[in-house]
Subunit: 201 residues, 2 copies
């Protein structure tokens, strides 16, 4: 490679990002030579600070720049419901819908003995603690619909072992707008099983 | 969006890069939270310095951190040949082959009256200057094979107007390994016209 050193370093850094190959890294780095100075400044300072500044909320383990995240601190949220998710990214996906007004709890993965992820590697104990200490009435699991997801929700349900708490998981079925030709048979079977009644007025 | 501010800024910066959409920007920014500190440091300093440090070579207009680029400074290069290219990226593509040992000249675009690019907007005068002052014996055009590329090479050839200098352009034809079904008819016509003789020993 015959690019000057700084440019070469920049290309190398881009190449370390997931899904970015050599050609794309080159294109991205070169595009920055024509970028605004203000954008470059913001980019480089955000980059330098992101690991120090962005921590996890001490309560729900979601991303936060303070001890508690905005959602945990917000007095308007329903403090009786916890939505259990896999990653902090899932919190943002759910917040984008805007209709859920409860709290969250980020597990940071799923139970998966195959890959060596045991219950103690996840934020399960802190969830059980919250269920005991806070006034939780409902728990909703929003986890990947596979064996690991099912195992994790069953394990936590057993551990909570409290009939006064409503525990549910999101519906699995045919996604809206999907072409029926491409829906796999397992999803279709589940969609049939969980059919909902159309009321006849 | 409910990400902390620093993370949000980082996502926004990634979104400004060419070909990076919202989902990819999110994925790239989040991946940096798990990256090495040394990589983050290198990334942010390269980013901060790239516009100040990476300049153009005063002779060939290729990228360089010094007044003259490595190629122009290299005493081992053949100083009698200039390869005329469109962008500094093309210099790197040609250097990767490793077989060309001459000099370069970056035009920074092609003549294109449609988009308002006139000869005086390109590095053509500095090329004509080099041809007059340096001992140039050969010029090779490596430009995009379209109307703009042809116009640019013809315009420069006319301007040089010196029968002692060999002026050529790269061969256009069927790329190696190409499936003949997908070669367009214009390329095929040109490949036929520029056929090369297989010697019968």
């Amino acid at each position: 490679m015959k690019y000057p050193e700084t440019l070469n370093n920049l290309i190398d850094c881009f190449k370390h990002l997931p899904g970015i190959g050599e050609k794309t890294a080159e294109r991205l780095a070169l595009s920055l030579l024509d970028a605004d100075d203000s954008m470059i400044n913001l980019f480089s300072t955000s980059l330098a600070n992101v690991k120090q500044k962005v921590k996890r909320c001490s309560k729900c383990h979601s991303y936060s720049e303070k001890e508690l995240c905005e959602i945990c601190e917000n007095e308007d949220r329903n403090k009786n419901i916890i939505c259990v998710v896999e990653t902090p990214k899932d919190v943002v996906s759910l917040e984008k819908i805007g209709s859920y007004k409860g709290l969250y709890h980020v597990l940071d993965g799923l139970i998966s003995p195959m890959t060596g992820k045991n219950p103690e590697d996840l934020n399960i104990n802190s969830l059980l603690d919250r269920v005991k200490k806070e006034n939780i009435k409902e728990i909703i699991f929003v986890l990947t619909p596979n064996i690991e997801g099912e195992t994790t929700s069953l394990y936590i349900t057993k551990k909570i072992n409290n009939d006064n708490i409503i525990i549910s998981k999101i519906a699995h079925g045919v996604p809206l707008g999907a072409n029926m030709d491409y829906v796999d048979s397992l999803t279709l079977e589940m969609a049939l099983e969980n059919r909902t009644r159309i009321s006849n007025s």
